[in-house]
């Protein structure tokens, strides 16, 4: 367990709204740390539509998801936020007035005066294949991520998928596993061509197996897989003896641990006050797609507005004895100094 990280605000989610919140908070001298389950910033803009155009950002007639994230990163650079990527916030506990203790699945502990939940549609989590009876094996012999390669040493592995995750883990685990079988629904792979070539060379050398088809059934007991059935595109079923299965079918959004933080949710959304975007818990805020209020629109521009108003309320928690004077970036030399332009 690492030392406790102390900050003014912890932002959960590094999508466009979490990023812009850094800007609005920074103008008010409020320091932020951000945690995101993805290994990159940008949230849905980065994961779901990096190359797709967005047409409704005010004064920006056209920008891609990737372009928007790049621009936001440039905009918040003066405020030097700290990112904790590839981590999921798991627990959130109120320990002061307001003060929160927040922990992540990687064992980090934060103490923060305010928390901004900017988690969009929830956390991106691996898609679970609808194979009948898969549940008891999950976490025991079915794994959606590799945290420790050594856990798969000398095991018979079934890796499922055709993208970079499936190919990378096939190549990384093949030398230490007893046997690797890769299953994909077609004999074409969208992963990096170099990885595809390496995989095909291993298959040609007899060092691993490639099967074209879809996993149709599992065998085993007490969470331990012993075999899987693979249905080929011709309908023929093959049986492979295995110790573990690693399915890689991309990510989907799930609400995740937010549901356990004592908030009353409406349709998996967090109700907020529309003057401050604070939840029913003082110091705990929700901005962007994850909140709800009368008239809510799930638009990036709405989230930007919500971040600005939230920052005003957060200021009173971080600097309870100071009076907040409203200023414009166009004319305030103090704001311009913070932005590094004065």
């Amino acid at each position: 367990m690492s030392d406790t990280i102390k900050t003014d605000v912890l932002i959960i989610g590094a999508g466009p709204i979490g990023l812009f919140a850094v800007f609005e908070l920074g103008l008010l001298d409020i320091k932020a740390h951000l945690v995101d389950i993805l290994d990159k910033v940008g949230g849905q803009c980065a994961e779901l539509y990096p190359e797709k155009p967005i047409y409704d950002i005010p004064a920006v007639p056209f920008i891609t998801g990737h372009g928007l994230v790049e621009a936001l990163m440039q905009q918040i650079k003066p405020f030097n936020p700290t990112f904790h990527l590839g981590e999921m916030v798991t627990t959130l506990e109120k320990i002061g007035d307001p003060l929160f203790r927040v922990t992540t699945d990687r064992g980090k502990v934060f103490e923060t005066k305010a928390v901004a939940i900017a988690a969009g549609g929830g956390s991106f989590q691996p898609k679970r294949p609808p194979i009948p009876g898969i549940e008891p094996y999950e976490g025991k012999s079915v794994h959606y991520a590799v945290r420790k390669m050594d856990a798969f040493r000398d095991k018979r592995l079934l890796i499922v998928g055709g993208g970079d995750s499936a190919l990378d883990w096939t190549l990384n685990l093949q030398p230490i596993a007893k046997r690797v079988t890769l299953v994909h629904r077609r004999d074409e792979f969208r992963g990096a061509p170099d990885s595809v070539n390496k995989m095909r060379a291993l298959v040609a050398a007899g060092s691993m197996d490639l099967k074209i088809g879809q996993v149709s059934g599992l065998e085993g007991g007490d969470g331990q897989l012993t075999a899987a059935s693979i249905k080929g595109n011709d309908g023929a079923v093959a049986r492979v003896e295995i110790d573990a299965m690693l399915p890689f079918f991309g990510l989907t959004m799930k609400l995740g641990p937010v549901a356990d933080w004592g908030l009353t949710l409406e349709d998996e959304l967090i109700p907020v006050d529309t003057g401050t975007f604070e939840t029913t818990v003082p110091g705990l805020f929700a901005i962007g797609d994850i909140n709800t209020y009368p008239g809510k629109l799930k638009l990036i521009l709405s989230g930007f507005h919500e971040a600005a108003l939230m920052a005003q309320k957060v200021y009173h928690y971080v600097y309870p004895d100071k009076r907040l004077v409203f200023q414009y970036t166009t004319s305030s030399t103090s704001l311009q100094k913070k932005l590094g332009v004065a």
Binding site: E47, P129, G161, R186, N233, T252
Partner: protein
């Protein structure tokens, strides 16, 4: 009021429509009108068809709007693009006639189209 109704009727009759039938995995059928030029996914969402999630909103990046095109219509609907074929790798129980419904444009030629929605979109 009658003026308003007339207006809405005339604006609807201007838009060309095609009949699309969604068959859910339990056999429930929904026959709806899809606007020519929109997508089959958008038509499903507008009509609250069960089994279509469309998490990414039509960007061909999530594979949660999978449909199995009825055999009789498969040829008319056509094959997926390379980009869509790549995304189909993220879907489950993919069949030779499977498509992502956000990538099927409603056309007059598809009037009468039948698609089947899966039990599970991978969430």
């Amino acid at each position: 009021m009658s003026d308003v109704q007339d207006l809405s009727r005339s604006s609807q009759s201007n838009a060309k429509m095609a009949k699309i039938t969604f068959v859910e995995h339990d056999g429930t059928k929904h026959a709806v009108e899809g606007e020519v030029g929109s997508t089959v996914m958008e038509t499903a969402l507008r009509n609250q068809i069960g089994g279509i999630v469309a998490e990414c909103g039509g960007a061909c990046t999530c594979a949660t709007c999978l449909v199995h095109v009825d055999e009789a219509w498969s040829e008319k609907v056509g094959k997926p693009s390379a980009e869509e074929e790549d995304m189909l790798d993220f879907a489950f129980e993919v069949k030779p006639t499977s498509r992502l419904s956000c990538q099927i444009k409603v056309t007059e030629a598809l009037d009468g189209l039948i698609v089947h929605t899966p039990a599970y979109q991978g969430r």
